[in-house]
């Protein structure tokens, strides 16, 4: 297992290096000249030349990349061009808010999704099953930003229970903080529930028909134990892989959701840096997202291997 973990860590590192090259390459073909961006459109060409030399913009592109990458390895993410602040604290503040949103949603998606999937499988072919199918179908058929607007319409405009957007730090009070978290969470959970519940349902139905479950029932074990102990453990294997993918989707969904709800997290930082051509912030943010995504996938692989010892560790990497 230790060797397997080591190899997976190495491949995560390689992927991140490749993503960093990708991010740098794409943002480097930006037609806008960085020096002009800093000095303004009508800057003195002589000044622009000086700044270009100072920023090393005339060096070959691979030298610029190495300089940038080396700084990141040393923990220096650079300075935001727009806000004239170091990116690191800005980014970590945004990430911590986004991670709160993402992890609360993720836990709810896992619990509700698996619960609905199991319930649908146990009532297979009956009204509850069909209800869950239709509900989850709707969940994925509509973009998140539309659900966000529906949630705002229902909970903020009609019922008046929740604020329609914004963010309050935890320091202002737990209730106010929570209130601003509920609407985006509901949206994210509803939009991402479908994959988990559908997969849990189908694998649960399959497992419930397998001989070993019949054997467990024949032994006279109570149905609750047959379902929870025997069937669920195996049925959850594919769900775990999908949960990891869903975490990646959540990180993507957060971009849109945070914009709709004016929630100052990573997603909004990315949209803000694009709208304002703040390249260093954009590069660092996307790199961090890729890192979170890669780690989520790694954890899923490890959980999968842990739950299912039959997996050949050395082969699963290829």
């Amino acid at each position: 297992m230790a060797r397997y973990i080591l190899r997976r860590l190495l491949s995560v590192a390689l992927v991140l290096v490749a993503v960093s090259i990708l991010v740098f390459a794409v943002t480097s073909i930006l037609p806008a000249n960085v020096a002009y961006l800093i000095l303004g459109q009508f800057a003195d060409p002589a000044q622009v030349k000086v700044l270009e030399a100072k920023l090393g913009l005339n060096d070959p592109i691979w030298q610029q990349y190495l300089r940038w990458a080396w700084a990141i390895v040393q923990g220096n993410l650079g300075e935001s061009m727009l806000m004239n602040r170091p990116i690191a604290p800005l980014l970590f503040e945004a990430i911590s808010r986004s991670l709160v949103l993402a992890s609360v949603s993720f836990v709810l998606i896992a619990v509700i999704g698996i619960g609905l999937g199991v319930a649908a499988a146990l009532r297979h072919g009956r009204p509850l099953d069909h209800g869950v199918s239709v509900g989850t179908y709707l969940g994925i058929a509509v973009p998140e930003f539309f659900w966000a607007i529906v949630v705002i319409l229902i909970f903020a405009s009609w019922l008046g229970w929740l604020p329609s957007s914004g963010y309050e730090p935890l320091a202002t009070g737990f209730w106010i903080w929570l209130q601003h978290l509920i609407a985006p969470t509901i949206t994210l959970v509803f939009a991402h529930l479908a994959h988990v519940s559908r997969l849990t349902r189908s694998s649960m139905i399959e497992v419930l028909q397998s001989p070993y479950v019949t054997a467990a029932r024949a032994k006279g074990l109570p149905e609750r134990i047959v379902v929870m102990r025997h069937a669920l453990r195996n049925a959850l294997l594919p769900t775990i892989t999908v949960l990891a993918l869903d975490f990646g989707r959540l990180m993507g969904g957060i971009v849109v959701i945070e914009t709709v709800f004016a929630y100052p997290g990573l997603g909004r930082l990315i949209v803000f840096s694009i709208q304002n051509r703040d390249l260093p912030t954009l590069q660092a943010s996307i790199l961090v997202v890729a890192a979170i995504y890669a780690i989520a996938n790694l954890l899923a692989d490890l959980a999968y291997a842990w739950l299912n010892p039959r997996i050949r560790y050395d082969r699963s990497i290829a």
């Binding site: 992927v15 991140l16 490749a18 993503v19 990708l22 991010v23 794409v26 943002t27 073909i29 930006l30 037609p31 499988a121 297979h124 179908y137 709707l138 994925i140 058929a141 509509v142 973009p143 998140e144 930003f145 539309f146 607007i149 529906v150 705002i152 319409l153 405009s157 349902r201 189908s202 139905i205 399959e206 028909q209 990646g248 989707r249 990180m251 993507g252 969904g253 971009v255 849109v256 914009t259 709709v260 990315i270 949209v271 694009i274 709208q275 051509r277 954009l282 996307i286 997202v289 890729a290 995504y293 890669a294």
Partner: protein
């Protein structure tokens, strides 16, 4: 080998209710989109101050927006944009992803390794962020969004093509072609590709809905269609400010998108069940 093995295996059986419903919903929407300029009750882009924020009525079936434009007419014109986005982006992903997947699955070895590891890298970034990254470097325009969405979905298409190719390569007719000393290009595109189509078409039809959703999300963020376009994502973005007073402006495009995506998904799922007997028995059981 023009006819496909998978199609031959599927006997002519009645279409499932799922497939029928999907075809019905989708074809009605496609038809409405195609006929939009002729059946729209009002011009989609004429601004008129007198008719601002009218609720749905017999004259304006879905009401009017903040510029006094008929929401239903805008919706119809927007159908074309959504369909064009979904189809053109998917064609781009297919055009690039299918050859990559064929090559990876046929040549194996280093080619495979290199291509699939590159796909891993692209898939290490959530699709919407990849799209944002591509769009960050140019001023927004809807065709650029379609290209970006198409590029984002190249890796998954390449992966599916590769796995289909891997299973076809071992079949006798490919060995026969090799024995006839056919070139790799012939084998890839004349022997393997025709047999890979059924699986690829199902995958592509589901990708169309992903592309529509991603494209509308990018438009919603202001990185796609620009005003006064009636792209559904943009319509929802613009209607956000009036959600309290005129919810019909935002709800209409959202519900339309829901119908279209459900319709295409039903076709994709229905076609998958028809073409993949293994999967069919599984769903029949469960």
């Amino acid at each position: 080998m023009a006819t496909s093995a998978a199609l031959e295996r599927a006997p002519r059986k009645p279409m499932s209710a799922q497939l029928k419903a999907g075809l019905l919903i989708t074809s009605v929407i496609v038809l409405l989109g195609l006929l939009a300029p002729w059946i729209s009750p009002h011009p989609w882009d004429t601004i008129s101050i007198k008719t601002r924020f009218l609720p749905p009525s017999t004259t304006y079936w879905l009401g009017t927006d903040d510029f006094g434009r008929d929401v239903f007419s805008r919706l119809l014109m927007g159908t074309r944009l959504s369909l064009a986005m979904g189809i053109s982006a998917t064609l781009i992903s297919l055009a690039i992803g299918v050859p990559i997947g064929l090559a990876a699955g046929y040549f194996r070895g280093r080619t495979d390794e290199l291509l699939m590891r590159s796909a891993d890298v692209l898939m290490a970034v959530p699709p919407i962020m990849l799209g944002l990254l591509v769009l960050a470097v140019t001023p927004p325009a809807i065709w650029k969004t379609a290209v970006a969405v198409g590029l984002v979905y190249v890796p998954p298409i390449a992966r599916v093509t590769r796995s289909v190719t891997l299973s076809i390569v071992t079949e006798d007719f490919v060995q026969a072609a090799r024995a006839r000393a056919e070139g790799p290009a012939w084998i890839l595109f004349r022997e393997i590709l025709p047999n890979a189509w059924p699986a690829l078409i199902v995958e592509a039809s589901l990708r169309v809905t992903y592309a529509i959703l991603l494209g509308s999300a990018l438009s919603f963020l202001g990185l796609g269609a620009q005003p006064p376009s009636s792209d559904w994502g943009l319509m929802i973005a613009e209607a956000r400010a009036f959600i309290d007073t005129a919810p019909w402006i935002a709800l209409s495009p959202g519900i339309a998108m829901c119908l279209l995506v459900v319709g295409i998904n039903l076709i994709g799922d229905g076609a998958r069940e028809r073409l993949d007997p293994r999967l069919k028995t599984r769903t029949a059981k469960g």
